[in-house]
Amino acid sequence: MFDFLSKYDVLGAFWVTVQLTLYAALGSLIWGTILAGFRVSPVPLLRAFGTAYINIVRNTPLTLIIVGTLLGLSQTLGVTMGTNVLDSQNFRLATLGLIAYTSTFVCESIRSGINTVPVGQAEAARALGLGFGQVLGVIVLPQAFRSVIAPLASVLIALTKNTTVASAIGVAEASFVMNNMIENESDKLFLVFGVVALGFVVLTLPTGLILGWVAKKVAVKR
């Protein structure tokens, strides 16, 4: 029944999905944290930039952003992403698009985490002579992160599934292979769906469980 699978590189495709997820997760965690820093900074210009970025990018469909990286960044502006191999170029463009998009959700999660840290924590740090960067980096963000691990897990799961949009610019991840299979094995439609869906569950279910456990483990007691 599953013979047809041997004709396709399903595992390879899911490996691309995993790679897209990991690179985009790392990138959006970094960029999202910086954006959160902008949004709470005392500098009005940075705050305005953060707010504008979040509101524009978060409200733009991901497909538009991903296709925009290929048509806009790559084909119109000639950004090569440091490689001439077309496949790697598309992979990198898709990662960039996913980072730009997912970081907005990371930023807003972290910002809500910052709001769970009592204002007295920052006041005490300021009263001791710590500067804004130190107050944020040493006192506020470490506590904020611990309280938003569970919501960040949801963002990571959403990101894992959002990587399927990369197929729109020809990245051969799981849904790209699925489309091929559907075209050629139309009699096994539900089986194809089932296999791909199972693959995603295998990726995302442990993410939620493990990070849920970590969230409990590192919670700050007050």
Binding site: P42, P118, G120, Q121, E123, A124, A125, R126, A127, L128, G129, L130, G131, Q134, V138, I139, P142, Q143, R146, V220, K221, R222
Partner: protein
């Protein structure tokens, strides 16, 4: 162990407030405040709630901004938010009503954090000083616990140790015992009393009348954003001049 920094400007008063005004919306919380605190003096600020005494205390290290007037600490006017203000705050110890210990750091890490991050003291030296300070406030055996594991009185003593670790020139206390269970008030006041005896310049907002009598050099009474009385504790408690102070004392001392 807590002697003030030596490069101080010994002619100027430690704290000087001149014509300080502040509003919260329509509420005039500080009205033309004039106050000089000479070095080494222990000043207790009393007054009913909402009289502006906490705001006064917090404005001295600019946790509250003021609308007009001048505030000087050790002869230097408070700078705007930035590196210069951070440097000034490092020299002004502050103890809060809610302790505000860093919840994700152990007690000893709370105490050594600012010396390491701000004064750039080495980790090992800062730890040694931190342990000495914790010994002094009587909670060295709690050094590796987290704030949530300590009683309120222990947390507040740790917070005092944290402020002292920066070797401040002056200490501000914003109702340090108001959030404590009654049986824990004394242990915190004992630490503050010994600090006062060692010559630390202190400004203490409190409702502890016994402590005010024992430890204060001077009592400031505030009401509706004004300094109504400025006298010695003896004078204030035995012969208050203003009606508002008499009224306040009658309510406090007869319960």
């Amino acid at each position: 162990m807590t002697e003030a920094n030596t490069e101080s400007n010994s002619a100027a008063p430690m704290i000087r407030m001149q014509a300080v005004n502040k509003h919260f919306g329509p509420l005039h919380v500080l009205k033309d405040i004039e106050l000089e605190v000479p070095r080494g003096q222990v000043v207790i600020v009393l007054g009913p709630s909402g009289s502006g005494k906490s705001t006064l205390c917090r404005s001295i290290n600019r946790l509250e901004t003021i609308d007009s007037g001048v505030i000087e600490v050790d002869g230097k006017a408070l700078p705007a938010e930035g590196k210069a203000l951070a440097r000034l705050r490092a020299d002004v110890g502050m103890v809060f009503q809610q302790f505000n210990l860093f919840a994700h750091k152990s007690i000893v890490d709370n105490v050594l954090l600012a010396p390491v991050k701000v004064r750039k003291v080495s980790q090992s030296e800062a730890r040694k000083t931190a342990m000495e300070l914790l010994e002094r406030v009587g909670i060295a055996n709690q050094a590796d616990k987290y704030p949530a594991q300590l009683s309120g009185g222990q947390q507040q003593r740790a917070a005092i140790a944290r402020a002292l670790a920066m070797r401040p020139k002056v200490m501000l206390f914003d109702e340090p015992t108001s959030a404590l269970d009654p049986e824990m008030v004394q242990e915190v006041l004992d630490v503050m009393t010994s600090l006062a005896k060692e010559g630390m310049t202190m400004l203490v907002v409190t409702h502890e009348m016994g402590f005010a009598r024992r430890a204060a050099d001077r009592v400031i009474f505030m009401s509706d954003g004004e300094i109504v009385e400025d006298s010695t504790p003896d004078e204030f408690f035995t012969a208050p001049k203003s009606g508002r102070a008499k009224d306040f004392l009658a309510k406090i001392l007869t319960h």
